[in-house]
Each structure stands twice: as C-alpha cells, then as structure tokens.
Assembly symmetry: C2
Homo-oligomer: 408 residues x 2
C-alpha cells in the first residue's frame, strides 16, 4: 500500500479547485472531544466567522456535515412539508437539482425556465410568485453549469411582500461574488467550501433567518434515546430526514448542545480556516481578486478569438464558459491540458455537453499566474490543432488587463 | 483571528478519539479534480481497501460523505419504501436512532427491546421475524450508549431464510471487534471513522450485497440536468433523499462516474489512510490490541472496586461502562479529569444519564500507556473524594494484564 502521491494539478475548472495551503494544514489538527469546551468554543467561533462571510446577523449560522448538496437538501427538506408549493426558477443544472430535491421532499414543484446562458428578470419571478403563491422560492445564485450569476437583490423584498421564504444556493458564488444575506433579505442560504472559499468539498455552511426558523421549529422533535421525558414528542409533521433536520441541528449548535451527529471536527477546522483566510484578506478584496482573475481570463479568451458562452454581462466572476470551436474535439484538448500541462479545465453537463469548456478562476487559484499559465497552455494546445490566429494573444491580453487593473 | 491552539487531550470516551497522526497528515494532501484519473483511481483503491476492512467481496463498497449517521440514513432510506415493515431490536440509544430514521422514511417500524446492558438471543429475533415478516431487519452491532456488542453471526442465515434484508450499524465496533460481512451474510453495513478506525468523524464507509442492490435498483433514477435523454426517468418510487440515494451513489462510484455530489476529497484521503493503517497492522492484530486494552481497562476498573456496567461477557472490546459510585458527582470527576489531566472520559444518555461513565480504548488510543494514564488519573481524582480502597490497585491490575498477555 503506497503513500498517496497525486500529480500537482492546477485546477482551473468549475471546482473543486486547489485548496489554500493553510486550509490543508488546518485539517491536520489533532481532535478534542465533541462536547469539550475547547471544541464548542471552535463551533461558536465558526458560527461567528460565517456570519461575516454571509454578511448576516443571523444567530443560526452553522455547518452541515456533508458536501454542498447536503446543505441544500437540509434547508429544503426542513422547510417543505409534503404538499407545500415551491417555485424554482431554473437557469442551469443546479436549478434542476433544486427541483429534484424538492420533489423528493414531497413538495409540489413549479418551475419557470430561462434559456441556459441567461438569467431571470425580477419581473418574471414576481409574476410567477403571484400566480403560484409558493411557500418557498428556491433559486441558485451562481450556476456553474452555465457560468451565469442570477441577480438576487430585489427578490427578498418581493418574497416578504408575498409571504414566501427565500432560499438561495450560493455554493459556487460565495466569496467570489457579492452575497449580501441580510441586505437582500435571504431567509436561507447554503454554500460549500470547494469553490471560491478555497477548501475541499465536505462541509456546507448555512445561515437561516428568524422567519425560516419560526417555520421549521413547528416541526421540532427530540430523538428517542436522548429524550429525558416522554412529554417532548414532535409537534408538527416530522422532517423526513433525521440527518438534515434543521431544528435538531440548531439544538446541537446551540448552548443546549443536544446530541445529534458527531461533528466532523477536521472539516470544522477546515471551514474555520477557509473563513479566516477570506476575512483576513478582506471580503471586498477577495471578490475584487476574483473579478480581476475572471476578467483577465475573459480578455484572454476573447483575444484568442474564442467565444465566451452566454450573456457575459451576467457571468460569475469566477467562471467563464468557452464555446468549443468547430472541428475541435473538446475532450482531446482537455486531455492534453491535463496530461501534458497538469492543468484541468471543465467539461459540461446535459444540453451543453461537448459544446463548451468551463474555466474557473476561484479561491486559491484566482491568481494572475494561474490565469497566465492556463491561457498559454490552452493556446499551445489549440495551436497544435491549427486553431489560433496570433501567437501570444491570449496571455498578452490577460497581462494587459492586470497592468491596467494595478494602475487604477 | 488566532491560530487553532487546542489542548492536547487524551480522548478515552466512547468516541471520537485521537486520530492516528498519519491519518491527520493524509488530509493535508492537495486536491486533484473530481473526475481526474488520479482521483478516480483513489476512489477505486478506497473501495478495495474497505472490502478488506468489511471482510467482503461486495463490489458495492464506498463512502457516504457525512458522519456515521449519514451512512445509516442512506442505507435505510434507500431500502425502505413508505409502508414497508422494518424490525429494529433495540438495546441502547442507537437502536432508537434506527427506529427514528426508519419512521422518517415512512416505514412501519416494529421494535423488540432488550434491557439496557444486555443483548438479544437469536431466538428472540427469529420469533419477531416470523411474527412481523419485515422487509428489513435493522440492528446495531456495538452500541456505545450501553457498551454492549450484539452477536450477529446467526442473523444472516435467519434473514435469508425469511427473505429479509439485514442492515447493521457497525460504527462503534468495526476495527475493534470482529465484523464478518460476507460470512455473516450481512446485506448492508455502515460505519464511521471516529471510533476504532482512528480517524475523525465525517466519512461513512458502507458495503452492500447484491440482494440489497437488486432491491434499491428498482428505485433507480437519473437526475434532471444531467440526463441526456428524456427516456431514462425513474421507474420505482423515488428515494426520498437525493443526497442519500444509493443507486445514484453506486453510479457515481462505478466506472460510469455519473455526476452526483462533489466527492469530499480530503475525507476520502482520510478514510483511505484509516484503512491502510488498519490493514498494515493487520485486522486480527488490531482487534487483539483493542481486546487487550479493553481487558486491561476492565481489570483496572474492577481492581479499583468499581462496578462495570451491564452484561460484561457481551461488552465491546473498545468500551466499558463504569457505575458511578454513590455520593460521587460523576460530572465533577469528568471535569477534574479533563481540566487537570487532559483526559476525557464519557458521560451517558437517556436512562443512564448520571449513572455511568463510559471509558473507551479505541483506535490510536487502544494502547497500554493510554490505559495506564487513564486508570492512574481516575484513581487520583477518586481518591480526592475518599472513594478508592487501595492506592495503585487499578494501574497495577492493568500492568499485570499486559504482563500476562505478552507472555502468552
């Protein structure tokens, strides 16, 4: 049995990406017990740190022990009782994921669709809210399948007006794009570490508003086996998952520390370090770094006379889709980039499969050198397929972007 | 924001325990992409390693990305359709957890109960199987709430005979006690890393038999958004969780690599190292080490004239319950052990709350020095409460056990 000896990839796809080295180191911290005051102090600290990441005062800000879709499922399955109506505006693959999770929760799911590569106008969503009167509006902020970023700033007020809970999956956008939980009146937000936060997949930070908590507390339940009296049985319809039961998780993360799962301590330390890395650099600075890396990458792609995918004025800072030129085998290009240059760029799903590459500039890799190496290498590979007009055009455009950005 | 600076605890409770240092180091490995051949090779390797841990030839052996109860929920919710009958023999807290998870899956749950501190005879379970005719028998192997280890070796044949699927939660027992998946004809087993496997909580290895897979494949489903044709819609009743959908997870871990969640790579590397640590030492040797540490601890406890809890001939190798002597405040003792000696022992749940301590000897801490330090420190603290008859009795008995064990 051999030591793990992985190739030194530069991960420039839609995530996961390379982790910040300090985040990797944090996971090697030896454990303390799950109810040790030293442990619960770290849990409290992580709650406080993620309030700053989410820009919220919600006391109910914590981690779900699983990947980002564990966070999505926890927030939706706890809020939706069978038969509840939910509206999902779908503009990419992760909108479909939300519908699927809501359907499995027994909800009546209504969708509106925007063509892949576009986003919704607030009016489209408002019309659907009025027509459907859902309990929950569930929407993705940044959908890496299309690289589009849905504007959210007007939806919170609409949802309050129509008495709807607003859930947002900001997994792919948080840290690289503005996400203003309280100002935008988002009731429930879940994210993951493996995109702009620069960690591995495996922990899903969430935050929920008092409005959300009031709804889910109606379904509050204390587990048999740790109940001390028989009088504290569930009042509302039980949440169909024990693992994703938000009221129980709130109890676990509260001062009461009512036992639920055994907290995934190494991922807790990891999530802590991701937040500290972000906050020490400064949220605004990190978003600006993502904006610069994404803009430089886009400039390089365009200078190579490649076509960016979709409505680029709504592109996420941290990802760009690139239309694969005719007569080129997109997978062959990805293969050469990976095996000759140790650089990974992304393929696509569903309707875009084989049609676009997806190039990410996120987290630790939202860096000038990572952008420049990627553009050079992509050009070299494309050149071997007689596809690029002018040698050095891509990397020069990116350099020019960074020159100009640093002057401002 | 400060560097994480946790006290150097010796974790001698019912888990989590201190991790093997090599396991902590493995988590600092930099990532590769989720479908990188270097990554999928590690996933395949982990499947092969856990076949050896579980003593099975099941090809379907993989990780659930969550804590051990995520593994439990995935296996039960995928197998149980609403209205299905399940039998849960309950002999401690984690039996209650199984009933709760099954209820939330919509199953009709039948329990039989054995007093806490005891286990079931096979005849008791067979009678209930015949009477209830469940689809699934769900049982815990080692329940840390009582420290009891349920014998399982006769249940598989019974279940085959009565056409029942046999699920076992071996979280607390695996690695420290015999668990023979194929020989015992277990259809589905889930575990965690944070007990005898010497890792942190956060990844749940599972294995499932062909019988189990045949059942859950009837509910097979491909997610919207990654479906390539509209013809491949779900056939059976959909599994109520997307995250815990075993057929989808089997697709993800198969050669098809059908996209589901983003694998929690650092926890994958961690789970890999836990298995390698176990297999390099040798499964039989590791179980023997747990037996010795548990026996030495028990000898020490008895020599201190403390009373072990429950039917100790069915005690797990890796944990012992200790009846808290009259007039002693059990929490005060735990507090002194933690804050003066940096040693954690466990408290209890539900009916045993305040009545027993639980002392674990598991994973990295199933070591002679850990046993000796714990006994000495417990004696010192108890002595401050005028509770121990003979100075040095506990530690001397443990030393004597190890002297005799090493002669054999």
């Amino acid at each position: 049995m051999k030591t793990l000896n992985l190739p030194p990839r530069l991960l420039m796809g839609p995530g996961p990406v390379n982790c910040y080295p300090r985040v990797l180191s944090a996971m090697s911290t030896q454990l303390v017990g799950q109810f040790d005051p030293a442990m619960t102090a770290v849990m409290d600290e992580v709650m406080a740190l993620y309030r700053q990441v989410f820009l919220t005062n919600n006391p109910h800000t914590l981690l779900i022990d699983g990947t980002s879709r564990a966070g999505i499922e926890a927030l939706l399955v706890s809020a939706l009782e069978p038969g509840d109506k939910v509206l999902v505006p779908v503009f990419g693959r992760f909108g479909h994921l939300l519908t699927e999770i809501c359907e499995r929760a027994g909800a009546r799911v209504y969708t509106i669709n925007s063509p892949w590569g576009t986003v919704f106008e607030p009016e489209q969503i408002e019309k659907a809210l009025i027509r459907i009167k859902p309990k929950v509006l569930a929407i993705v902020q940044g959908d890496t399948s299309t690289t589009m970023l849905q504007p959210l700033e007007h939806l919170g007020a609409l949802c309050r007006q129509h008495d709807v809970l607003l859930y947002c999956d900001a997994t792919a956008s948080v840290g690289g794009n503005t996400l203003n939980t309280d100002e935008w009146q988002l009731d429930a937000v879940s994210v993951g570490l493996q995109k702009c936060l620069g960690g591995p997949s495996g922990s899903a930070p969430i935050t929920v508003s008092e409005r959300y908590v009031t709804q889910v507390r109606k379904r509050h339940h204390i587990e048999a086996g740790i109940r001390e009296s028989s009088s504290s049985h569930a009042l509302g319809s039980p949440i169909q998952s024990n693992y994703f039961d938000i009221p129980m998780l709130l109890d676990y993360w509260s001062g009461a520390r009512l036992n639920h799962h055994t907290e995934a301590a190494s991922m807790l330390f990891c999530a802590r370090e991701c937040a500290i890395a972000l906050l020490e650099e400064g949220l605004g600075n990190v978003i600006r770094r993502h904006y610069d890396a994404g803009s430089a990458m886009l400039a390089g792609i365009q200078a190579m006379e490649l076509t960016p995918y979709g409505d680029i004025k709504h592109k996420m800072n941290n990802a760009v889709g690139v239309v694969i030129p005719d007569k080129i085998d997109g997978e062959l290009v990805r293969h050469e980039l990976l095996h000759r240059f140790n650089i990974e760029i992304g393929t696509s799903f569903g309707p875009l499969k084989g049609k676009i590459w997806r190039i990410g500039t996120m987290g630790y890799n939202a860096r000038q050198d990572a952008v420049l190496h990627t553009l050079q290498s992509l050009e070299t590979v494309l050149r071997r397929h007689q596809c690029v007009p002018k040698a050095g055009g891509g990397v020069d455009a990116a350099l020019a972007y960074y020159d100009q950005a640093s002057i401002q």
